[in-house]
C-alpha cells in the first residue's frame, strides 16, 4: 500500500514569467497533488498566477479550452466570484495574486485524470496569499480542460506578462 508519492520538485530561480513542469503526469497515477509556496515577484508589482496544461507532444495548451469557477475570499472586501468558460488558462489556480517576499503565496492543486485520453482533466485548487502591503486573500476554485486528451505536464504563468517572478518552489506528488 502506498499513499502520496513524490514525483518532482521545481525550484524557481531567475526572473521568468512562465515555468513548465513536463512529463510529470503518467499512467502511474489517476490523481496528482501540486503544492506551491513562496512564489515571489521580481519587482514590487503584484500579479495573478495562472495555470495551463501541457499535452502529450510537450506543447503548452494556450487555446480557449479552460472553464473555471473561483471564489475569491478577500480580507478587506466582500467575497467575489469569477466564473468563465472557454478561457486560455485557469485564472489564479496557483495564486489569487502574489507579490515580492516576504509577502507571496502558498497553494494546493488537485489534478484528476490527466493521463486519460478519453476523459477531460479536472482540477480543484485552494490558495492563500498576501500582497500590496495590506491585502490578504484566500481562493478556492474548480476547473476543467474541456478536451479529452492526454495531459503530461503543466505550466505556471503570471497573468500580466511583464511582472515576472524569481523564486519559489513547486512540488508534485502522485496519489496512489
Amino acid at each position: 500500500m502506498a499513499g502520496l508519492e513524490f514525483i518532482h520538485k521545481e525550484t524557481i530561480s531567475g526572473s521568468t514569467s512562465t515555468t513548465n513542469v513536463t512529463s510529470c503526469f503518467t499512467s502511474d497515477y489517476d490523481v496528482y497533488k501540486i503544492y506551491s509556496s513562496g512564489i515571489s515577484t521580481a519587482g514590487t508589482d503584484y500579479v495573478d498566477l495562472n495555470m495551463r496544461f501541457i499535452d502529450s507532444g510537450g506543447s503548452v495548451i494556450s487555446a480557449g479550452e479552460y472553464d473555471y469557477g473561483n471564489l475569491n475570499m478577500l480580507s478587506w472586501d466582500s467575497f467575489g466570484e469569477t466564473d468563465l468558460t472557454g478561457q486560455t488558462s485557469f485564472l489564479r489556480a496557483f495564486s489569487e495574486s502574489t507579490d515580492q517576499a516576504p509577502e507571496s503565496q502558498g497553494g494546493e492543486i488537485t489534478v484528476y485524470n490527466p493521463n486519460s485520453s478519453s476523459k477531460y482533466t479536472f482540477i480543484t485548487y485552494a490558495n492563500s496569499q498576501k500582497y500590496g502591503g495590506s491585502y490578504m486573500s484566500g481562493l478556492k476554485g474548480i476547473g476543467v480542460h474541456k478536451v479529452a486528451e492526454t495531459i503530461t505536464g503543466f505550466q505556471l504563468l503570471e497573468s500580466n506578462g511583464s511582472r515576472p517572478y524569481s523564486s519559489g518552489i513547486i512540488l508534485v506528488y502522485g496519489v496512489k
Partner: protein, 188 residues
C-alpha cells in the same frame, strides 16, 4: 509528506450497482474489508471518474458497523461553484442524505465526477462525524465544469466506519456505471 498517506481501501465500480460502500468492514464493496478505526484520526477519500446511467446527483451517507445511516441527522453547508453562471449556496439541517456531487449527466463519457473528501472524527464514539467536500464534475447539459465546496456533519455521537455512496437513494432506476474510490488514512 511521503509515507503519511496510507491507502486502506480501494474500489473500482464493476457492473451497475445502485451504491457502493467504501470502508464499512465486511460490508464494504472491495475485498479489503476495511473498517475505519482509531488507527487514524483523519481519513481522506478520493473519487475519480464517477459516472451514472441517468442524470443524477450522487449521494453519501455514513455507515456504522457497515450499515448505511438513513436517519434525518445530516446537516450541510456547501457552495455550488459553476463556471457558466453565478454560484449558489446550499444549506440545510436534518437531512436524510447528502449530495456529495451535483447532478452528473450521463450523456458524456469524458465527463464524470471527481472529488476529495476529508473525514474527521469517524472512529470517535463521543463525537459527530464531519466531512469536508471539494469536487469538480462536468455538467453536460450546460457544457461546463461545476462542483461543490463545503461540508456536512452526521449529528450522532457514535463511531462511523465507512461511507455508502450511490445514486437515486439506492432504489431502482439510475445506477453507477464507473468510478474509482480510494480511501486513505492520514498518519499520526
Amino acid at each position: 509528506m511521503a509515507g503519511s498517506l496510507v491507502l486502506v481501501d480501494e474500489y473500482t465500480v464493476s457492473g451497475t450497482p445502485a451504491a457502493i460502500t467504501i470502508g464499512g468492514g465486511s460490508s464494504g464493496s472491495s475485498s479489503y474489508n476495511y473498517a475505519m478505526d482509531t488507527t487514524y484520526n483523519v481519513y481522506m477519500l478520493v473519487i475519480t471518474g464517477l459516472t451514472v446511467s441517468a442524470d443524477d446527483a450522487p449521494l453519501m451517507r455514513v455507515t456504522k458497523s457497515g450499515t448505511s445511516q438513513e436517519d434525518a441527522n445530516y446537516d450541510e453547508a456547501k457552495e455550488y461553484f459553476k463556471a457558466d453562471t453565478s454560484f449558489s449556496t446550499i444549506a440545510a439541517a436534518g437531512q436524510t442524505k447528502i449530495d456529495c456531487m451535483a447532478t452528473i449527466d450521463s450523456g458524456i463519457s469524458a465527463g464524470g465526477g471527481n472529488g476529495t473528501y476529508y473525514l474527521f472524527n469517524f472512529p470517535n464514539a463521543s463525537e459527530y462525524s464531519f466531512v469536508t467536500i471539494e469536487g469538480a464534475h462536468f455538467q453536460a447539459s450546460d457544457d461546463t465544469v461545476r462542483g461543490f465546496q463545503g461540508g456536512f456533519v452526521h449529528t450522532v455521537a457514535s463511531a462511523s466506519d465507512g461511507l455508502r455512496i450511490g445514486v437515486n437513494n439506492w432504489t431502482s432506476g439510475s445506477t453507477l456505471t464507473g468510478g474509482n474510490f480510494k480511501l486513505f488514512g492520514i498518519g499520526k
